[in-house]
Amino acid sequence: MTTRPDVHSGVIHDIGYRPYTGPRLGRRYATRSLYVQSLRAAFGLGRSGKSKVLPFLLLGGMAAPSLAMLAIALFTQQREMPLDYVDYLASFSVLPQIFLAAQAPVLMSRDLRHHVVPLYFSRPATRGDYVAAKFAAMFSALMIVLALPLLLLFTGAMLAKFPVGDNLLHLLYGLVSAVLYALLYSAIGLLIAAATPRRGFGVAAIMGVLMITRALASITYALNGGFDPMRADSASWVFLICPSTLVESLVNQLFGLGLDNSATLHAPGAAGAAVFLAVLLALTAGGYALTLRRYRNV
C-alpha cells in the first residue's frame, strides 16, 4: 500500500529557538577573565581551603620578618632598618622561589592534564593571549609576594620617622629588583610547568633548576677565588648561571649598593652590568617565546 505524501508530511513548527544576539564580550574580555582567574588561582582563591594554605603561608612567611624588623626598629629607636629593601629580597629569596615552584604548575599543568587547553583556544582568545594572561598572572602574583614586605618596611620606616627621600629611593630600588625577579622567575617557571602535565614533577623541576644553579654558582664562585681577600671581579661572571644571583648582583651593581662590602654580590663592572641585564632580558624573552612555541600545537 502506498501512502499519500500529504498524510505523513511533517510540519516544521517555529517554536522560537533563537541564536544569541546579546553583546559578545570578545577577545580582550576573555583574556582579562583568564588573567583574573589565574591570579586568583595562584593564591588558591575560589578553590578549596587546602589549596589556600600554602600560598598564604608563603606570603605570610615573606611578610613576617618585615613586621618583626619594623617592631625592632620602632622599639629600639634605631636610625635605619636592619636590612635594606634590596637585601631583604635577597635574604628571603627562597620563599618566592617556593611560591613560584608551587604555583606555576597550578596555572599551567592542571589545564594540560585535564585537556582543557583546546577549549580555551576554541574561544576568541588566541594562543598568544593564553600565554600572555598566564604570564601576567604569575608575574602579578610574584609581585604581590615580593612587594608586600617592601611596602610594609617602608610604612614602618615612615612610622619610625626615618628620612623620607632616602627610604623612597631605596624602596624604588627594591621595587625594581622585585620586578626583575618576578619577570625572570615567571618566564622560567611557566616554561618548565608548561612542559609537564604532572604537577609534582613540575614543582621538583622548577625548584631543582633554581637550587642547583644556585649551589653551582656559589661553588664556582669560590673556585674562582671569589672569597679571596683580593677578589677578582672576573669571579662574578658565574652569577649569570643562576636566576636569583643574576638579579641580585645586577641590582647591586646598577644602584651601587654595598660596593665596599665584599660579601655583597656584584656584576663585574659597568660592562658586566650591561651584559647581566642583556642576559636577564634574553632569558625572560626566551622563556616566554619557548612557552608560546609550546602552545603552538596542543
Binding site: 587546602k50 615552584a101 608551587a102 637550587m211 642547583i212 649551589a215 653551582l216 673556585l223
Partner: protein, 238 residues
C-alpha cells in the same frame, strides 16, 4: 618484594625522557668535580664543599625527593594507583617494593656519582670519598622512605618535602643548633664522619644518635606509609 610492581615502578620513574632529567644530577656533580680538580684551593675544603654542601646537602635531598615522590605520589595523583591497589597484593608489599626501587635509584643517581666525584677530587686518601658515599647511602635511604611517606599522606608531597629540605634543614639548620639533630642530612654527615679517617669530616650529631634516628625514621616512615596506603581515600582534584 614483587618484581612486576618493581619493574612497572622503575619504568614509570625512568621511562620516556624522564631519565635524562634525572641523569642531569650525576652529570653535574662529575662535571663540577672535574672542573674543581684544576683549582689551586685546598683539596679537603674543596671536597667538603662539593661532596658535603653540594652533593649531600642539595643533590641527595633533591634526588630523594624526585624519586621518593615519583614512585608513588604521581600514581596517586593521576589515579592509576587503583589498578595496583585492586590486585591481591598486601599493601605493605607495594610500599616496600616501591621503597626498594626508590632507594636503589637514589643510590644509583647520587651515592655512586658521589664516590666517583670524591675519587676525582680527593683520591681515596683518608676515606673521605668513601665516607661521603656511605653517608649518602644512609641519607638517601632515609630521604626515600620519608618522601615516599609524604607522597602517601599528602597531595602536596613535593612542596612539603621541599619545605623540609630547604627551610628546616638548610635555613633553620644553619642558625639553630638544635635543628641539626633532627636533620637527615646531618645524620648522613655523622655516618660519613665515622667512616672517614679521624678528623677528616666533622659532624655535629653523634654517631649513635644518628644511626638510631636514621633507622627509626626509615622503618617508621615505611610502616606508617603501609598503614596509610591500606586505608587510602582517593580524593578528587582540589
Amino acid at each position: 618484594m614483587n618484581t612486576t610492581v618493581a619493574r612497572l615502578t622503575a619504568r614509570g620513574l625512568f621511562g620516556r625522557r624522564r631519565v635524562l632529567i634525572l641523569l642531569a644530577v650525576p652529570v653535574l656533580l662529575l662535571g663540577i668535580a672535574l672542573f674543581a680538580r684544576g683549582s689551586d684551593l685546598d683539596r679537603l675544603d674543596l671536597a667538603h664543599s662539593v661532596l658535603g654542601t653540594l652533593a649531600l646537602g642539595t643533590l641527595v635531598p633533591i634526588t630523594g625527593l624526585v624519586v621518593g615522590t615519583g614512585v608513588i605520589a604521581t600514581e596517586i595523583e593521576d589515579g592509576s594507583i587503583v589498578y595496583l591497589l585492586a590486585k591481591p597484593l598486601p599493601r605493605w608489599q607495594i610500599v616496600t617494593t616501591k621503597l626498594a626501587v626508590a632507594i636503589g635509584s637514589t643510590w644509583l643517581l647520587s651515592a655512586v656519582p658521589i664516590y666517583a666525584a670524591g675519587l676525582i677530587l680527593y683520591g681515596a686518601g683518608d676515606d673521605v670519598a668513601l665516607g661521603y658515599t656511605v653517608g649518602a647511602l644512609a641519607a638517601g635511604a632515609a630521604y626515600s622512605a620519608l618522601f615516599l611517606l609524604l607522597g602517601v599522606v599528602t597531595r602536596h608531597a613535593v612542596i612539603a618535602g621541599l619545605a623540609y629540605a630547604l627551610i628546616w634543614e638548610s635555613l633553620i639548620g644553619n642558625y639553630v643548633e638544635g635543628a641539626r639533630t633532627l636533620s637527615v642530612q646531618q645524620w648522613g654527615l655523622s655516618v660519613a664522619e665515622a667512616v672517614a679517617a679521624d678528623g677528616a669530616v666533622l659532624a655535629p650529631v653523634g654517631l649513635a644518635t644518628a644511626l638510631w634516628l636514621l633507622v627509626i625514621v626509615a622503618v617508621g616512615a615505611t610502616a606508617y606509609a603501609s598503614v596509610k596506603l591500606a586505608g587510602i581515600t582517593l580524593g578528587g582534584e582540589e
